[in-house]
Every structure is written in C-alpha cells, then in structure tokens.
Symmetry: C2
Amino acid sequence: MTPSERLDATFTALADPTRRAILARLMQGEASVMELAEPFAMSQPAISKHLKMLERAGLISRGRDAQRRPCRIEGEALAAATGWLEDYRKVWEGNFKRLDGLLAELQANQGKA
Amino acid sequence: MTPSERLDATFTALADPTRRAILARLMQGEASVMELAEPFAMSQPAISKHLKMLERAGLISRGRDAQRRPCRIEGEALAAATGWLEDYRKVWEGNFKRLDGLLAELQANQGKA
DNA sequence: GTCTTTCATAACCATATTGTTATAGACAAA
DNA sequence: TTTGTCTATAACAATATGGTTATGAAAGAC
C-alpha cells in the first residue's frame, strides 16, 4: 500500500461516527467485538465490517483469546494521519501570519472540536 | 451541521488523493477551477464535484472574480480535524497531562463525535 | 446584440459504502 | 459428541462516491 493509499484508508476509516466511537472505546484498552458492539443499535456483522475497515487502515490490530478477537489501537496510522494534517496546519498558519494577523483567530478556534 | 457531521465531511473530503492534491495546490494561494483542474487527467465537472465536497466540509471557500471562482483554503475545518487527531495521538502516546479528563470527554462524545 | 471563457448542473454509469439476515467456523463447556 | 458463544462471511438492498458527456448560466470581449 502506497503512503497515499494508506492516507485514503485512514481518512476513510475516520469518516464514520461509529468507527470514531469504536476508537474512543479502544483508547481505554482492548475490547472484544461483542463488547464494542454493545453500545450501538446495530448488528454484530455491521460492527465486524467497521472493524475490518479500521484494521485495513492499520488503526487497530486483533489478537486471539479463545473465541474472542480482542481489538487494540495501533498508533502508527494515527500518527501518520496526524502528521499529515499537522504539516498542513503549520503551513496554513504561516500563510495567515503573512497575509494578516488572523493566526489568533485560527488558534482561538483550535480547541472547539 | 453537528460537530460529528462536520468531522464526517472533513475526513471524507480528505480521503481522496485528488482532493488532497487540490489542497496542496491551494496552500500556495488562491486558484481558479481551471487552474486547479490543469494537472489532472480528469474533466472539469469532476474537479467541480471535488471542490463541492471540499467546500461542504468547510475546507475551502470560493470568491468571485469575473467568470472565475477563486478557491482558497479555510483553516478552521483543518484545525478541527487536526485537533481531533491530536487528542487521540496524545492519549495513545501517553503524553496527555490530564489523561482521565480527556478520556472522559472522548467517552462523553462517543455518540456525536 | 454575438461570441468566448469559466464554471456549475443534469443525466447517466460503475463501484463502494453501510446496513440487513442467514449461515458457517472456531473454540470452550457439558 | 453435543451444545453454546463469539466472530466472520455470503448474499442482498439502499445510498453514496467518482467519473463521464451534454448542456446551461454568468460575465467579459468583440
């Protein structure tokens, strides 16, 4: 997978609220598919599909514990996507500085979401 | 548009290499639709569709200069996506100072972020 | 006015995404 | 072996995405 394809897969995986919620849950530690599915009004196969997309993006990996397939976060893909966005944000902040004093506005809005 | 829907739109917009290349070009400054389309082996309507998705995500805005519709980057959506990823990366890397607080916030936002 | 340039929209097609239900596989427990 | 639990896959449907060509609209140029 090329770096561009990896970014495709990562941003695609992050573009769904269910998958972002799954990542939020996994920030607390490993969880099985059933545990991950529990909060959602959605079938187990639907969750398995979401996990497959997260895995394809390298955002999670899966182990084996009897019948369970515990999922855990993998930081590398997260770091790659963050790094890409950070680079752009830095350039953009540089542009703001050159164009006007609007950097303050951007920074003020950073924490909002 | 809710914050979650905005993240959906932003990450969806970033998940395509053509749109990321358009953003890279716009980092250098404003450009018209024709100027943006020039490097791509793709029709002008295809570029217009990509610009529409970038605009819907709030990643760009468009002005008016005679027949031209110059596009420019809007930093806020970029900052929001960066901020979201940064929070997760910090938790993952263990660098976040108020780990409990952020985890609580991430959990509270599960359904909408 | 008429022409040209720039851009958007409509109609269409192929593929991908997102969910469903039904079923099969892996493994533990009885 | 039989049963039950956890997870993946197959088959299907609805909608979204990403491209095309044809056409329309807006604005300057002639």
